[in-house]
C-alpha cells in the first residue's frame, strides 16, 4: 500500500493547513524498526481521514538527547530552529510517536517561544476511537493473546500518561497483563537520559535485561510500548534471552493498525 504523506511545504503551497502535525522524530525517520511504527501511525491517520502533515526534511532533532546529556547550547539551538519552522507554519497541534520528542516539545519548547498542544500518538488514537472515527470491532488478530505494556518513562512518570495506551490495548480482544513494576513504579528500559547513545557505566547487569525479565515473568505474548527507544531496548532484551520466537515487541500503534487490518 502506498502511503500518502503530505508535507507542510506542500500543504502550505496549496493554501491548506493540517489539523495536526505529525512530528516523526529521528528514530521514527531513520531507524529501520521505528520506521514501521511511523508507518503504522500514518496508516491509522489516513484510515481515519485525519488531515495531517509532516515537516519532512524540515524536521530536525528535538534536542532531547543533547539536553539530557547536559549540553544546553545544542539543545536550545535545535529547539529554536525547530520553533522557527513550526511557528512559520503556524502549527497549533502536534502528535508524536516518541515520548522524548513529546516531552521536549510539550514542556521545554514553551519557554523558548514554542507553544503548541502536544499529544502522544496513543492519546490521539484513543481520541479517534472515542469520537467514533476509528472502529476496532471484528478484529480477531489478538484474540486470546496476553499483552503487557512497558511504560516509557517520558510518557508515564514524566508526563503522567498511563491510561491512554492501556485503554487502547484493552480495546483489542486481548488480555492486558501488568508487570510487577508498572505505571508510576515502572522500570526504565535503560535508554533515557542520552544512555541510548553510549555504553552503560560499569555494573553487573544491563537495565534492559532487568526490565525484560519483568516482562517475561508475565508470560505475555506481546510486549507493547509507546516509544521507539524502549522498543529497541526491549527487543534487544528479548534477544538476550533467545525468546524472539515466543514474545514480540510492538508499538501500540502497530497493534491498532494490525487490529484494523491496515
Amino acid at each position: 500500500m502506498n502511503l500518502v504523506v503530505p508535507t507542510m511545504a506542500e500543504m502550505m503551497a496549496k493554501g491548506e493547513s493540517p489539523d495536526v502535525l505529525f512530528w516523526v522524530g529521528c528514530s521514527g525517520s531513520f531507524d529501520d524498526r521505528a520506521k514501521k511504527i511511523t508507518k503504522a501511525v500514518v496508516k491509522i491517520l489516513s484510515h481515519c481521514n485525519v488531515k495531517f502533515a509532516v515537516l519532512g526534511t524540515e524536521e530536525s532533532c528535538s534536542g532531547d538527547p543533547a539536553k539530557r546529556a547536559g549540553n544546553e547550547f545544542t539543545f536550545q539551538m535545535q529547539a529554536m530552529m525547530n520553533i522557527q519552522v513550526l511557528n512559520g507554519y503556524e502549527i497549533k497541534r502536534i502528535v508524536t510517536a516518541c515520548p522524548h520528542c513529546f516531552n521536549t516539545l510539550k514542556n521545554e519548547y514553551p519557554e523558548l517561544g514554542g507553544n503548541y498542544e502536544v499529544i502522544h500518538h496513543t492519546q490521539l488514537i484513543q481520541d479517534l476511537i472515542n469520537t467514533g472515527k476509528l472502529a476496532l470491532e471484528g478484529g480477531e488478530a489478538f484474540k486470546g493473546k496476553k499483552i503487557t505494556f512497558h511504560d516509557p518513562c517520558y510518557l508515564g512518570r514524566a508526563n503522567d500518561v498511563y491510561e491512554a495506551p492501556r485503554a487502547l490495548i484493552e480495546k483489542l480482544d486481548a488480555e492486558l497483563v501488568e508487570m510487577k513494576r508498572c505505571k508510576t513504579n515502572g522500570l526504565c528500559c535503560g535508554a533515557g537520559g542520552a544512555q541510548m547513545f553510549k555504553e552503560a557505566e560499569k555494573g553487573n547487569k544491563e537495565i534492559n535485561v532487568e526490565r525484560t525479565e519483568d516482562a517475561l515473568e508475565t508470560s505475555a505474548d506481546i510486549i507493547a510500548t509507546g516509544c521507539p527507544f524502549c522498543n529497541t531496548m526491549m527487543t534487544d532484551g528479548v534477544k538476550n534471552f533467545n525468546k524472539e520466537s515466543e514474545i514480540e515487541v510492538l508499538d501500540v500503534a502497530e497493534l491498532i493498525a494490525n487490529a484494523v487490518d491496515l
Binding site: L3, V5, C26, S29, F30, K35, K39, G56, T57, E59, S60, C61, G63, P65, K67, R68, A69, G70, N71, E72, F73, T74, Q76, M77, Q78, M80, M81, Q84, N103, K106, N107, E108, E111, C153, Y154, R157, A158, N159, D160, T184, N185, L187, C188, G190, A191, G192, G193, M196, F197, K198, E199, A200, E201, K202, G203, K205, E206, I207, E210, R211
Partner: protein, 437 residues
C-alpha cells in the same frame, strides 16, 4: 528551685536549637535563586497530602503504617508537652486535669495508646535495620555514622516512651496507694500496678515519677537539639520541602536563560558579531553546578530534608543493575558538602575556598553518567526530593564548562549539530521512510 532549672532547660534548649536552625537556614540560602512563590493553593495542597497526610509513604503499606504510628504519636504527644511545660514553670502537677475532666483522661489515654503503637513500630524498625537484610539499609553510603544515627534516633524514641510510662505508671501507683483511686488512663492504669504496685513507699514512687517526668522533658530537648545534626531533621523540613515542590511535569528540565540569550544572538541574522556586548545586569554564572553553591536553594533544602530512607535508590534502574549511582548518596553528599562549606564560611569568611567541590571530591563522574533520567527516584521520594535536578546540573557543568563527556556522546552531539539527528544520517533522507517498502 526545680522551676528555675526547668526554665533554664527550656530557654537554653530552645536557644541552642534556634541557633542551629539559623545556621542551616544560612547554608540553604547559599544556593542560587529560584522562584517558588507561585501557585500557593497547589502548594498547600501538596504539603497537606504529601507531608501531613504521608500520601507517598503508602506506596509501601507496611513501613507506611509503622511510620504513621510513630508520626501520629509524635504529633499528639506535643499536646502533653504543653502540660509538662505548664507544670514545670508553675511547679504544679497535672495542671489541666481538673479543668478538662473526662476529656483529659481521654487525651492522656489517646497519647498512651499511640505511644504503645509507636514503641512497637520502633522495635520493628530496629529489627528491620539490624536483623533483616533489606538492601537499601545495607548499602555503602549507610556504613558508619548514618547507620548509628538511625539507631540512635530509634533508641531515643524508646527512652522517650519509657519515660512517659514511668511517669504515668508511678503516678498511678501513688494514687492507688494513697487514695485507692485510679487515673483510668488506658495503658498506665495497668502498667502502673504491674511495675510499681509492689512499691509501698510513696516517696520512692514520687522519685520514680520525677525521673519519668524529668527524663521525658530532658529527652524532648535532647532530641530537638539532636535533629539539626541528624538525618531526622525531616520531621520539620518535610513541610517546607513539600510546599516548595516542583509542580511542573517531572519530564521538564529547567531552561537555562543564560544560554537562551546567547543562542538568540547566534540565530539572529541582524546581530552584529563585533558589537560590544550590552552591560549585563545578571552576574556571570557558572554553567551547571560544580559545587553546592551552584545549586538552587531548593536543591539544598532537599538535601537537609533527606532522611536517607533509600526508596529512591531501591527504585533506581542504574543502582539495581550494579552501577555506582545512588540517588540517596547524591543527597547525602550534597548535605555533607554544604555543611562543610557553611562551616568554612563562618570560620574563615565568605571568600574562603578549601579547594574541594561537590563534583569530584564527593560525587564522581561515573555516578552522574549512569543516570537514565527516568524520574523513578523523584517519584519514590516520600517528601518530594528531586535528586535528578542535581545530577542534571552536575552534567551541565561537566559538559559545558569542562567539555568532559563520554566519547560516544560527543559523536551524538556532533551528529545533532551537523545532521539534525543523533545518528549520522543525511537530513535530506529524513522523509525516505514514506516511500520505502
Amino acid at each position: 528551685m526545680s522551676s528555675i532549672i526547668f526554665v533554664l532547660l527550656v530557654v537554653f534548649g530552645t536557644a541552642f536549637f534556634a541557633w542551629n536552625v539559623w545556621k542551616i537556614r544560612c547554608n540553604i540560602s547559599l544556593g542560587r535563586k529560584l522562584d517558588r512563590s507561585d501557585r500557593a493553593g497547589d502548594r498547600w495542597k501538596t504539603m497537606l497530602l504529601v507531608a501531613f497526610g504521608q500520601k507517598k509513604m503508602f506506596a509501601r503499606p507496611i513501613p507506611a503504617l509503622l511510620h504513621l504510628a510513630i508520626y501520629v504519636a509524635f504529633v499528639i504527644t506535643q499536646i502533653e508537652l504543653i502540660e509538662i511545660i505548664a507544670d514545670g514553670i508553675s511547679g504544679g502537677h497535672r495542671t489541666f486535669r481538673e479543668a478538662l475532666g473526662g476529656f483529659y483522661t481521654f487525651m492522656i489515654s489517646f497519647i498512651e495508646v499511640l505511644s504503645v503503637l509507636a514503641l512497637i513500630a520502633t522495635f520493628a524498625f530496629l529489627a528491620r535495620r539490624n536483623m533483616l537484610t533489606i538492601p537499601r539499609f545495607k548499602m555503602d553510603e549507610l556504613k558508619g555514622w548514618p547507620k548509628n544515627d538511625a539507631n540512635l534516633i530509634l533508641l531515643m524514641e524508646i527512652v522517650l516512651v519509657t519515660c512517659i510510662f514511668t511517669m504515668n505508671g508511678a503516678d498511678e501507683a501513688i494514687l492507688n496507694l494513697t487514695s485507692n483511686e485510679s487515673y483510668s488512663f488506658a495503658v498506665s492504669q495497668y502498667v502502673g500496678p504491674l511495675f510499681f504496685g509492689s512499691i509501698t513507699s510513696e516517696s520512692t514512687l514520687h522519685v520514680l515519677e520525677q525521673i519519668g517526668w524529668w527524663g521525658h522533658i530532658i529527652m524532648v530537648f535532647a532530641f530537638l537539639n539532636y535533629l539539626p545534626y541528624s538525618k531526622h531533621f525531616h520531621i520539620l523540613l518535610a513541610f517546607p520541602n513539600t510546599y516548595y515542590s516542583n509542580l511542573e511535569n517531572k519530564g521538564k528540565f529547567t531552561n537555562m536563560e543564560s544560554v537562551t540569550n546567547e543562542v538568540k544572538l547566534m540565530l539572529d541574522p541582524t546581530a552584529d558579531p563585533f558589537a560590544v556586548p550590552a552591560e549585563s545586569t545578571i552576574e556571570p554564572q557558572r554553567f551547571g553546578a560544580k559545587d553546592v553553591t551552584d545549586l538552587t536553594w531548593k536543591n539544598l533544602l532537599d538535601a537537609y530534608t533527606c532522611t536517607e530512607c533509600g526508596r529512591c535508590t531501591s527504585s533506581c534502574p542504574a543502582n539495581l543493575t550494579g552501577k555506582k549511582l545512588s540517588p540517596r548518596k547524591i543527597m547525602m553528599d550534597t548535605r555533607d558538602r554544604l555543611t562543610e562549606v557553611g562551616d568554612n564560611q563562618r570560620k574563615h569568611g565568605k571568600e574562603y575556598t578549601d579547594g574541594k567541590s561537590l563534583l569530584g571530591d564527593y560525587i564522581t563522574e561515573e555516578e552522574i553518567w549512569a543516570c537514565t533520567s527516568c524520574n523513578a527516584c523523584v517519584q519514590e521520594c516520600p517528601v518530594n526530593i528531586d535528586p535528578l535536578a542535581i545530577i542534571v546540573d552536575l552534567r551541565r557543568y561537566l559538559v559545558m564548562e569542562e567539555s568532559k563527556i563520554p566519547t560516544e556522546l560527543t559523536g551524538m552531539l556532533t551528529n545533532i549539530e551537523n545532521n539534525g539527528a543523533p545518528w549520522q544520517f543525511s537530513p535530506s533522507d529524513r522523509l525516505n521512510w514514506a516511500t520505502e517498502d
